[in-house]
């Protein structure tokens, strides 16, 4: 294998950066984690079995650095959401029916996702989520199908993740409905 870390930076640096920035939304942290990734890769490169490409191998290391980072954020900031104070109650009546009926979103997803304004609204709605929900949302996204195993390493149970995702989605949908799909938004 090519074991020149300078060449890794030249050939894969931008790719790794895009991977990190799209998940962290923070340039400084993204660059720091890439440095950690390269250092870890350099230390371990002799044991790299060559079963995957260098890029896949580097992304694998980076992914774990990102998960570690988010996990540390959750722990350091002691982001506890009180289970007693269940924010989902606000969306439902006492009998469990919707307090405000969700409207039908009839937009074509493809067209919607190309729309810069929609992205801006989505972004601003995401940033309004309580911090822990926002972090878990990002965590879920990088975990893909490995939810269970990564949850374990993050000291958060799968059930906990599902609870937070449920809250986040209720809040995000409401925010989008007000600012994008709602009547007020169209005026």
């Amino acid at each position: 294998m090519q074991s020149d870390p300078h060449q890794w930076i030249t050939e894969h640096g931008d790719y790794l950066y895009r991977y990190a920035i799209s998940r962290l939304h923070n340039e400084e942290v993204a660059a720091d984690l890439i440095q950690e990734t390269l250092l870890a890769a350099w230390k371990g490169h002799k044991s790299f079995a060559g079963q995957s490409t260098i890029r896949t191998w580097l992304v694998g290391i980076l992914k774990h650095k990102i998960i570690d980072y988010i996990r540390k954020e959750i722990r350091d900031r002691n982001l506890n959401e009180n289970a007693e104070n269940d924010p989902t109650s606000a969306f439902f009546n006492n009998n469990g029916s919707w307090s405000e009926a969700p409207r039908a979103w009839n937009e074509n997803p493809e067209a919607l996702f190309q729309n810069e304004q929609f992205r801006a609204v989505l972004d601003s709605c995401m940033s309004k989520l309580p911090e822990k929900q926002g972090l878990v949302f990002r965590l879920r996204d990088i975990m893909g199908d490995e939810t269970e195993s990564v949850c374990k390493s993050c000291e958060i149970t799968p059930t906990n993740l599902h609870v937070l995702m449920h809250r986040a989605r209720l809040a995000l949908r409401k925010c989008l409905e007000i600012h994008w799909f709602g009547e007020e938004a169209k005026l």
Partner: protein, 81 residues
């Protein structure tokens, strides 16, 4: 059917993140069949999931390390190698 919509909204969210059990699936789809509000919510959840995934793939498609970030990486590797 107390708490039905609240529970079903959780199933709609969970179905993105895990495999529902057979019983949950039955309950979920039976409820959706008769509840327009929950169908709307389920569709919104799906759309938001697709949107966040797609936006990741495209938003930073052109992002690149800056020269100074790149220099710093090379320097860091110089110290180690």
């Amino acid at each position: 059917m107390k708490h039905a919509c609240k529970d079903v909204s959780r199933l709609a969210s969970d179905s993105i993140d895990r495999k529902l059990t057979l019983w949950e699936k039955v309950r979920f789809h039976l409820h959706l069949a008769m509840c327009k509000n929950c169908r709307n919510f389920d569709r919104a959840v799906e759309l938001m999931h697709q949107a966040t995934e797609l936006i990741h793939q495209t938003r930073y498609g052109e992002a690149k390390l800056t020269e100074s970030q790149r220099d710093r990486l090379h320097q860091a590797m110089d110290r180690e190698t």
